[in-house]
């Protein structure tokens, strides 16, 4: 009630100040009248009474002011006055204002940009109900591997800690019943997938268990985008049949437009798994190629779930068989979905957060220094105000108001910058960056910027306000003590800038050296002049494996005849594409009880010519050739690492191996060099190569063509396309890129961090130089008389130059020493992102020290040069 009155009355006074003033005036006047009337009644004449009343009342104006000063609205009034005055001050010094606002804008913009990237990935909950209960479960083999369908069946039946679980695998069907066939990114999911996520379709129904049985009628769910793009957002799509690869499939549901599928952001269509629940041991049901996701029961902790899964892995249940390669000897790896998604980019993001905090600090320090320098210029103004009765608090408030204005303007510039920069960062981001679609300047980013502005205003405002407001304590405007304190503050701030800039530069340097090392890693093949693309077969006729083999043989033949092509080959999986087709490999010679029994290798089903086209060197024996067809004895080529690890001290040639539950043994006929499959940074994995025709379990429907050109192969693309289409123009050609591009893309996460670190480092260097320059140049201006006296007393130009230069460089030296210590400490946080270079890499530190020293020397040179050119006579006469 009374609060309400406070607000209303205050607001009324604020909005109509004249009326409020009139009320106060009238009340005071009436008081005076009554007092005079009372005195009159004691026998005084009206004039005397009035005079006595005035005397008694005291200063009428003072009374009015006293009454007027009551109420919160006066605080607002003063603030408005401060803001007006502050704005006038800022406009009067446009150069200062622009530099300060841009500096803060840069700092805030960079911070807001990084925050908007980091927030949805590390901090914000995933867009699912109770997202913290979603867990990824991996097979612990080789650290973490995809699970098999068989493992999923066992876990989902035996586990009690999970409310629901699902497995998903990639799937790229081609929509054929339309005028222009389109290959869609999709997923094969077990029936509970969407229920695990907690998302329901916008239209139609979710998958039922009955949809996910072999022999069930084909059904699919589609994304909102496919619904709009291909079916004109027609609600009657539900229940209709659509052709995929010429097979009719019933659309049963449409996902909402807001559905964000973090496991596969580009997926637009979902099919049931349709895996065989009798789990035939030689089928795809036992391939390690599925992601498993589960939703914990309410109240169940991660630790409980881990414990239970470990127990399941350890204790065999007779109801569930496990082939040797899926025996779960290493248990499971269970992580929160969000942590799992952010894992590849987490170190980079945290390092970037740290880097941008440094940059922001440098920006703030720069502006603090500018404001301090301006405090010197404004001393007279502040002293006059103090002399006119402004209290110290009032002056401090004025100075802080000005900094707040700067911070707010900086914040606006920063937000504008961030909304551009976010797009740049997304364009630059590595494909490992999850939730790229959720990265934008949104409400939480704005809140973050507001918090930054507040913090900056406090941090930047407090030091100058303390120094500036001291004006009232001094009569002598030339007092040395204050300017000495101010000078020390400014020097320390410049040292901080230099030190932090060095930290950023050292980080950028370490990342740069890592990237150089990484790109210098031999990938195991010759990437130059190699073009790669994937051809996917779609259609009823490819249900016959021979048709698939014949199609690809014909395609390869046609491509080889394209002028400019020197060799061409095909493979089921290609290095550095994210493909991960891993199978258990068993050797005939090894006793079934050895630990090595279930070790895995990448399976490459290749067409002869693949090794030549990729430039994978033969080490021993022979390569696969056209004679190794379906009728010939099964043969395989292994990588050096397989020979070394699995067959130590034995001649590998002639040994026999089995891949998964392949029906027969493959005889090893050759050994080739190791190839980096997953990434340049990961040691080459074991690999086994067989020919497509001898891989009889199934015919790989999607194959990579590897084309080595005589020169730049990109120019050959149209001809290669035409060659493929001459065989069959309905088979989609996708994922086209040169091998050089793939090598470069595999370093994208590091390059992402590097580019941002470099940008921050350069900005920090510039800001630190501006800071150093500003400090020295101000000190030369202040010391003009001293320098002139020195000149008169015989100091030559050189010694004056050295005097100033020495001052600046000694500051730089202190900054460098502190910066080096900080950089070495901070490098720990970069460690996981480094490759082939120590975090104490001397080359990096020496280079950045030299860079910083040189830049600083340039910044110091200009004021020093000015000092050496001064005209002592003119300066001394001016006094």
């Amino acid at each position: 009630m009374s609060l309400w009155r406070q607000a209303v009355r205050g607001l009324r006074a604020l909005l109509n100040r004249p009326a409020a003033d009139r009320d106060i005036n009238d009340e005071v006047e009436h008081y005076l009248d009554e007092a005079a009337a009372a005195l009159e009644r004691t026998g005084l004449s009206p004039q005397e009474a009035r005079r006595a009343a005035r005397l008694e009342l005291g200063n009428v104006a003072a009374v009015r002011e006293q009454v007027r000063a009551y109420g919160w609205e006066n605080v607002v009034d003063t603030a408005v006055a401060d803001i007006r005055y502050g704005l006038r001050q800022l406009i009067r010094k446009p150069a200062f204002t622009i530099v300060a606002v841009l500096t803060l804008g840069l700092g805030i913009g960079a911070s807001a940009t990084i925050f908007s990237v980091v927030n949805p990935i590390l901090f914000e909950a995933l867009p699912y109900p109770d997202a913290h209960r979603l867990m990824m479960v991996w097979d612990g083999q080789n650290g973490r591997s995809d699970v098999t369908f068989g493992t999923y069946r066992e876990v989902v039946t035996r586990s009690r800690t999970f409310q629901s679980m699902a497995v998903v695998g990639p799937f790229r069907p081609t929509l054929t019943g339309v005028s222009e066939p389109e290959r869609l990114d999709g997923q094969r999911v077990s029936a509970d997938y969407f229920r695990v996520l907690g998302v329901t379709p916008a239209l139609g129904r979710d998958f039922h268990a009955a949809d996910d049985r072999p022999g069930a009628p084909f059904v699919a769910m589609i994304s909102d985008s496919v619904w709009r793009r291909h079916f004109g957002a027609d609600r009657s799509i539900v229940g209709r049949q659509v052709l995929f690869e010429d097979v009719p499939v019933t659309v049963i549901g449409v996902m909402p437009a807001t559905f964000e599928n973090v496991l596969s952001p580009s997926a637009e269509i979902w099919f049931p798994m349709l895996y065989d629940t009798t789990l035939p041991v030689n089928g795809r049901e036992w391939g390690h190629h599925l992601h498993m996701i589960g939703r914990l029961r309410e109240g169940v902790s991660e630790a409980q779930a881990r414990q239970e899964l470990d127990a399941i892995a350890r204790t065999r249940d007779t109801a569930f068989s496990r082939p040797s390669w899926a025996a779960l000897p290493d248990g499971f790896v269970t992580t929160r979905l969000q942590d799992d998604l952010s894992r590849p980019v987490r170190p980079a993001l945290l390092a970037l957060l740290g880097a941008v905090a440094l940059l922001l600090t440098i920006a703030c320090v720069n502006v603090t220094n500018l404001v301090l320098a301006r405090g010197v210029e404004r001393r007279t103004e502040l002293m006059v105000r103090a002399a006119l009765g402004a209290s110290r608090l009032r002056l401090m408030r004025q100075l802080i108001t000005e900094v707040v204005l700067l911070a707010i303007m900086g914040g606006l510039v920063g937000i504008a910058l961030a909304s551009f920069a976010v797009d740049l960062v997304i364009a630059l981001s590595p494909h490992e960056l999850p939730r790229a679609a959720a990265i934008r300047v949104d409400g939480s980013v704005l809140m973050f910027a507001v918090a930054l502005v507040t913090m900056i205003a406090l941090a930047v405002g407090i030091v100058p306000a303390l120094y500036g407001s001291r004006a009232d304590l001094r009569v002598d405007g030339r007092s040395r003590t204050d300017s000495r304190g101010r000078e020390v503050a400014r020097r320390s701030l410049v040292v901080v800038q230099l030190a932090f800039a060095l930290v950023l530069l050292a980080g950028a340097g370490l990342l740069l050296r890592s990237l150089q090392h990484l790109l210098a890693m031999p990938p195991g093949f010759e990437p130059a002049n190699v073009l790669t693309l994937q051809v996917q077969t779609a259609g009823r006729r490819f249900r016959d494996p021979n048709a698939t083999h014949q199609f690809f043989a014909a395609v390869l033949e046609a491509v080889r005849y394209v002028p400019g092509v020197s060799t061409a080959g095909a493979t089921s999986q290609l290095p550095l594409t994210g493909d991960q087709d891993v199978w258990g490999v068993q050797f005939e010679s090894a006793s079934p009880t050895t630990v090595n029994e279930s070790r895995e290798a990448y399976r490459y089903a290749v067409a002869p010519g693949y090794f030549e086209a990729m430039g994978i060197p033969l080490r021993q024996g022979r390569l696969l050739n056209a004679q190794d067809d379906g009728n010939a004895p099964r043969v395989a080529v292994i990588s050096e690492s397989v020979a070394k690890r699995r067959l130590p001290g034995v001649d590998a040639i002639g040994q026999r191996l089995r891949i998964g539950a392949s029906p027969g043994w493959f005889t090893i006929v050759g050994i080739v060099g190791n190839v980096r499959q997953a990434s340049l940074a990961i040691d080459p994995p074991d690999a086994v190569y067989v020919t497509n025709e001898q891989w009889t379990q199934f015919a790989d429907g999607a194959r990579w063509l590897v084309v080595r050109g005589q020169s730049d192969p990109v120019a050959l693309l149209p001809a290669i396309r035409a060659a493929i289409e001459s065989v069959d123009r309905r088979q989609p050609i996708v994922r086209v890129a040169t091998m050089d591009e793939r090598v470069s893309a595999s370093a994208a996460a590091r390059r992402f961090a590097l580019v941002l670190f470099q940008a921050f480092g350069v900005v920090a260097l510039v800001l630190a130089s501006i800071g150093t320059y500003g400090l020295l140049s101000g000190s030369v201006t202040r010391r003009l008389r001293e320098l002139a006296v020195r000149a008169v007393l015989g100091a030559d130009r050189r010694s004056l130059l050295e005097l100033v230069l020495r001052g600046g460089m000694s500051l730089t030296a202190v900054g460098i020493v502190i910066g080096l210590i900080l950089a070495i400490l901070a490098s720990r946080f970069l460690e996981t992102m480094l490759f082939g270079v120590s975090r104490l890499d001397a080359v990096t530190y020496v280079s950045v020290v030299v860079l910083l020293a040189l830049t600083s020397a340039i910044a110091c040179w200009m004021p020093a040069w000015r000092a050496s050119r001064l005209d002592p006579n003119a300066i001394l006469r001016a006094d």
């Binding site: 009155r5 009554e34 003072a62």
Partner: protein, 111 residues
């Protein structure tokens, strides 16, 4: 207003205003006058403090005010005690009596 008149003890002004207004609605000078009269000139009210206090009490919801025209065509602001103002007065009176009694006991004990 003899030489022995005393400035108001901090915090008692509010109570005296409320007490004065509990008799009848009255304007600012009236309040000052009555406080001085009833205290037989012991308390002297500063007009600036009084008018500020009136604004404060009004915003606190303990007083209401209305403008009336005076004989010489000026405006006079009359204050009225509200119900919550009356409750406040009772509370403050009780509090004051307790304190005064306590102080009196201490002073007596010292003799």
């Amino acid at each position: 207003m003899g030489p022995e008149n005393t400035d108001l003890i901090q915090g008692t002004l509010d109570m005296l205003i409320l007490k004065t207004l509990s008799l009848e609605p009255i304007h600012g000078f009236g309040i000052a006058r009555r406080v001085e009269q009833i205290s037989r000139g012991v308390f002297k009210v500063n007009p600036g403090s009084l008018l500020t206090a009136l604004t404060r009490l009004e915003r606190a919801g303990w007083l209401d005010s209305e403008w009336r025209d005076t004989a010489n065509s000026r405006r006079a602001k009359y204050y009225t005690l509200t119900r919550s103002g009356r409750r406040q007065l009772e509370a403050e009176t009780a509090d004051w009596s307790r304190r005064a009694a306590a102080v009196a006991r201490i002073l007596k004990a010292e003799v």
